[in-house]
């Protein structure tokens, strides 16, 4: 995460604002941010195919609203916001489409993790994914950004529009629930 924050430079933003260099600069944005955004989305929706669709929608929305990006926030913050909103919208749509309750969704997510062929982790890592999948949506987001991306609470606060204190509390609760999940499964 620290890597892409460093890439969020003023030069790229300036080129995005210039009509003649905008498309070329956006191409660089895609190359720089597609992987971190992909991982963030994938941890939410689990399926590679769904992640691919959401990632495309994320960049399309960013492109369509590029003139509204004023540079007040960092480029990465703005892109993460779009990606997270797209992920949450997708999960809500899926829930409505399938008529799933929150509990059903949890078991559905675990089923997706088991069915996922694009994995390269040990049993413990797989179990942690399952534990994270049992978390409420917001706690899952906070845990993913803090644990996997090592994101600072201030940055998370900008992306999610929540206070740092609330985020810390949310992460603490998430860790407790994961701990409980491991204790119950042993």
């Amino acid at each position: 995460m620290a890597k892409e924050l460093q890439l969020d430079d003023n030069g790229l933003v300036a080129r995005l604002r210039e009509p003649s260099t905008c498309r070329e600069a956006f191409g660089e944005v895609i190359k720089l941010y597609s992987e971190p955004l992909y991982r963030q989305i994938r941890r939410m929706v689990q399926s590679h195919e769904d992640t691919d669709d959401i990632l495309q929608n994320t960049f399309l929305k960013a492109w369509q609203n590029i003139e509204n990006f004023r540079g007040d926030a960092k480029l990465s913050t703005w892109l993460y916001k779009i990606a997270i909103n797209e992920s949450i919208s997708f999960l809500e749509k899926e829930r409505k489409r399938r008529g799933l309750s929150l509990d059903d969704e949890e078991s559905n997510t675990i089923a997706l993790i088991h069915a996922d062929t694009n994995i390269d982790g040990d049993e413990l890592a797989q179990k942690l994914r399952e534990a994270v999948a049992t978390l409420p949506e917001k706690q899952r987001l906070v845990f993913n950004m803090r644990y996997y991306d090592d994101m600072k609470y201030e940055k998370m606060s900008e992306i999610m529009g929540t206070s740092v204190g609330a985020l810390k509390a949310s992460y603490h609760l998430a860790v407790k629930k994961i701990e409980q999940y491991f204790a119950d499964s042993d």
Partner: protein, 156 residues
């Protein structure tokens, strides 16, 4: 719990198909719609001198036309007052002269003798009162008296 988290690699273990991100960037760039500022702007042809001054020329011509029309109406009004009979002393004198009326005006209007005689009869004219006078005038001449005497307008 801390033990578990330290044991688990921070890599989430999720993999992607080979070359996915390179392919994704290319696909994404191709899928980006063209924005307004990227569309080629239509070429604006420079306007010629005539195209620039044409509206002003037309406007000036229109004003000239209106001015000419008003001037013409003004001249016509002045001429009509000059043509009035009351303002023309020659016409007034001519119309006051009986000889002129009889010799030119009535003739010009092609009033024939019959119409004149009819009008005279209506006003109580008696041609027999002039018979002697006519005979005396004709007695000196060798000319024969016509069966249907003519009445010269100048004698009436």
């Amino acid at each position: 719990m801390k033990d578990i988290l330290t044991k688990v690699n921070r890599n989430d273990g999720m993999t992607v198909p080979d070359g996915y991100f390179d392919d994704f960037a290319a696909r994404m760039m191709a899928a980006l719609p063209e924005r307004d500022w990227e569309k080629p702007q239509p070429k604006v042809m420079p306007r010629s001198m005539w195209q620039r001054v044409r509206p002003y020329i037309y406007l000036a011509a229109m004003f000239m036309g209106v001015w000419c029309m008003m001037k013409m109406f003004d001249l016509m009004r002045a001429d009509s007052s000059g043509l009035s009979i009351d303002n023309n002393p020659v016409m007034t004198a001519a119309l006051g002269n009986d000889h002129f009326i009889n010799d030119y005006f009535i003739k010009e209007c092609e009033v024939n003798d019959y119409q004149l005689m009819e009008e005279l009869y209506e006003t109580g004219f008696d041609p027999s009162a002039y018979d002697d006078e006519l005979f005396e005038e004709n007695a000196d001449s060798s000319a024969e008296i016509p069966e249907t005497p003519e009445f010269p307008l100048s004698k009436i």
